[in-house]
Amino acid sequence: MIITKPPTRHVEHVMGMPISLALRGRHTDDTAARSAWAAVLDELREVDRVFSTYRADSFVSRLGRGEITVTDCPPEVAEVLALGDRADRESGGAFRVWRPGMDGEPVLDTDGVVKGWAAERAAVHLRALPATDFCLSAGGDLVCRTLDPDADPWRIGVEHPIDPTRLVAVIPVHSGAVATSGTTHRGAHLVDARTGLPPYGVASVTVIADSLTWADIDATAAYAHGPAAADWLRTRPDRDALVVWPDGTTTVIQ
C-alpha cells in the first residue's frame, strides 16, 4: 500500500457534539481549507438555531408547541419534515419525527433526521476544495470523499456499543457516509415510535450509504426496529450495514 502523510485534523464543538474533520491532498491547512471549515461550522450553527430541541426558542421547538406553523419557518424545516414523513412510511412507523412524549402527548423531535442531513449539507463546502479528500464527522456520523480511486480508503472504526474503548469493526470507505445509532453515550433517548418505548434486543446499528442523510435515518430507523433491525435493513436499497447485538455478536448486511 502507498504510505501517505497522515491527514490534517480540525475539531470544533457545535450542537453539543464534536465536529471532527480530516483533510488530505492539496488544501489541508491553508486559507482555502480554513475558510471551508469555517463555512461548515457556520452552517451547522445555523441548523442548530433552527432545529435544536434543546433551545426553547428554536423554530422547531416553537413549531412543536404549536406557536407557529411550517410556513412561518425557514424552508429547511419543511424539507426536514418531508424527510421525516418518508422515513416514517419506509420504516413502517418505527421512526417518526413526532414521537410519543412522556405524558403521552406527541413531541416534535427532528434530531433523528437533522444531524445527518445537516452534516451532508455542510460538507458541500468541503466538496468545493479542489484535489482534496475529506472525512467529516458530526458526533460519530460521518461523510467522506476520496477523489483518486487508487488512494487508500478512509478507515472508519466502528465503536463497540458495549465497550466504547474498543472497536467492533473497521469499514474502509473511499466516498460515502457512515452513521451509527445506539445508546452508548446518551442513554435511552431513542424510541420505537410505534410503542414509545426504547428499542430492545439490539445494541447498535451502523449504516453505510451514499448520503449521510439516509445513512443516519436508516441507522436510527433500524435501531428502532430492535430485534428486527437486520431484517428491515435487508429490505433497504443501496445500503450496507452492521448490526451489533446485545451479546456482542454482529450481523453484516452487504
Binding site: C144, P172, Q254
Partner: protein
Amino acid sequence: MKRIAMWGLGTLTALVLLFGYHTSTSGATNATTVATGPTTAGGSTSGGASGGTSGSTTTGGTTVTGPAADTRWGPVQVRLTVADGKITNVDVVQYPTENRKDQQINARALPILTQETLAAQSADIDMVSGATVTSEGYVESLQGAIDQAGLS
C-alpha cells in the same frame, strides 16, 4: 492450544467475511462453515487448503496474508498481524481496482471487517463512527484520542 484456537478463529472470521459477505454473521458458528482458512502451530504459519496464504514472523507479531478472494467488486486480499493470540492489525493489501467508476459512485465498495479481537488502540483508523458522541464524552472517546494525536 488455546492461543492457537483464538488465532484460527479470528483469521477464519475475517476470511468468512471475505468469502461470503453478502450476508455474514461473525462469530464461532460461522467460523465452522469455512474449512479452508490457514492453520497455525507454534508461532509459525502454514498455508490452508485455499492456497496462496503466506505468513511471516516479525518482532511486532506474526503476519498472515490471506489468498486473494474474488468478490463482486474484484479481488480482495487481507493481511492480519497476530501477537499473543490476538489480531492486532488488519491491512487490506489488495482492493478491487476494476470498475473504478462504480467504486467512486458506490459507497459500499469495500468489505466491512469485523474483528472482535482487535484492540482499538492498535487499529490504524481515520475516524470513529459511534452512537452520538457528545461533547461531554468526547475527551475520553476514541475519536478524541485520534484527533488529539493528529491535530496540526
